[in-house]
Symmetry: C2
Subunit: 228 residues, 2 copies
Amino acid sequence: MIKGILFDLDDTLYNSSEFVEIARREAVKSMIDAGLNIDFEEAMNILNKIIKDKGSNYGKHFDDLVKAVLGRYDPKIITTGIITYHNVKFALLRPYPHTIKTLIELKAMGLKLGVITDGLTIKQWEKLIRLGIYPFFDDVITSEEFGLGKPHLEFFKYGLNRMGLKAEETIYVGDRIDKDIKPAKDLGMITVRILKGRYKDMEDDGYSDYTIKSLQELVDIVKELKNK
Amino acid sequence: MIKGILFDLDDTLYNSSEFVEIARREAVKSMIDAGLNIDFEEAMNILNKIIKDKGSNYGKHFDDLVKAVLGRYDPKIITTGIITYHNVKFALLRPYPHTIKTLIELKAMGLKLGVITDGLTIKQWEKLIRLGIYPFFDDVITSEEFGLGKPHLEFFKYGLNRMGLKAEETIYVGDRIDKDIKPAKDLGMITVRILKGRYKDMEDDGYSDYTIKSLQELVDIVKELKNK
């Protein structure tokens, strides 16, 4: 008997990969316009290396980029980049098509819905609030709160616990095989892989019970499982 | 011979007191709507006490408010407050009337213009960029960069140094007697007090060489001083 669904956030409920990439590129263009004297593609290479080395939640990507290019701190250029990044991010932040309609139907079916996501709590909540979808979720569980993230099984167990759900009565929806689908499957959840974002070509290895292209396919999956 | 002007930022070039107050009130209203179960005026009293105790650059005002009211951390309510605060802030952030016209005229008179301000470098730069006035300033000097703020004379000396100006050839424009006008006068600058913001009724004690109600009066003051 299916009682709830746990969703991954980034690239599962909205287009994270694409919007972050566009926001970064526009930010770098604005920094060049503000005096960062470097070729655009070269700047993107340096920035991407900084993000790879320091992680996406490191707060000083643009500081390090300016330091690498100019050899000094320049608050005007850094702040120009930050402002452009946020302006573009907020402009592009929208749920995938059919997301809200699907969430309405799933709630109407009496399911508990939760989000379980790697990342900083306030940043992940900001996305849910700006996406306009947070009222659908009974709980939002972040790796920052737990102190350990995906793919650690303890994090998924903690999430199930907070939701008051058992693994076997829970559907897990995510985009990544390694960090979402495999651990959820290992815990005994019913796994639904959504083919979105930059990992959509990753080898499946049989961990997904279902594979969907759009969130709205979930409604039929739940109906099918309810009839079992 | 007047060669340059140093400006304070908050409440001198734009209406800081008013816009921060409105943004905070709207943020608290949105937090109450998101589940902060408390009377609005009571919430404002708690928030104002937190701001007074921790300072305006403390990053966790809303966290502390939620903790004080609910006895727990609630990221949904905190993030709702942060988003509303920033949305309102950006919507209200505009220079005082006549500011841009005045800055154009002052640059046309061949003056060096600078900003010297207490606060975090990126936050103060963000205001100048969003206000659209940063290209007028040859330099922006913040207390975070120097490590010591107003009214320390060393900070003002450091600012003059960065601008390549001597005190006696520099006009200082600010709204506060204690933190702006007195130290500038003590260093030998020509002091212009602008009657704006929450300190406009503060006793002068003779530290201001000029008192203005609008920035545009500066143009005549510079003309008068140039003729001396």
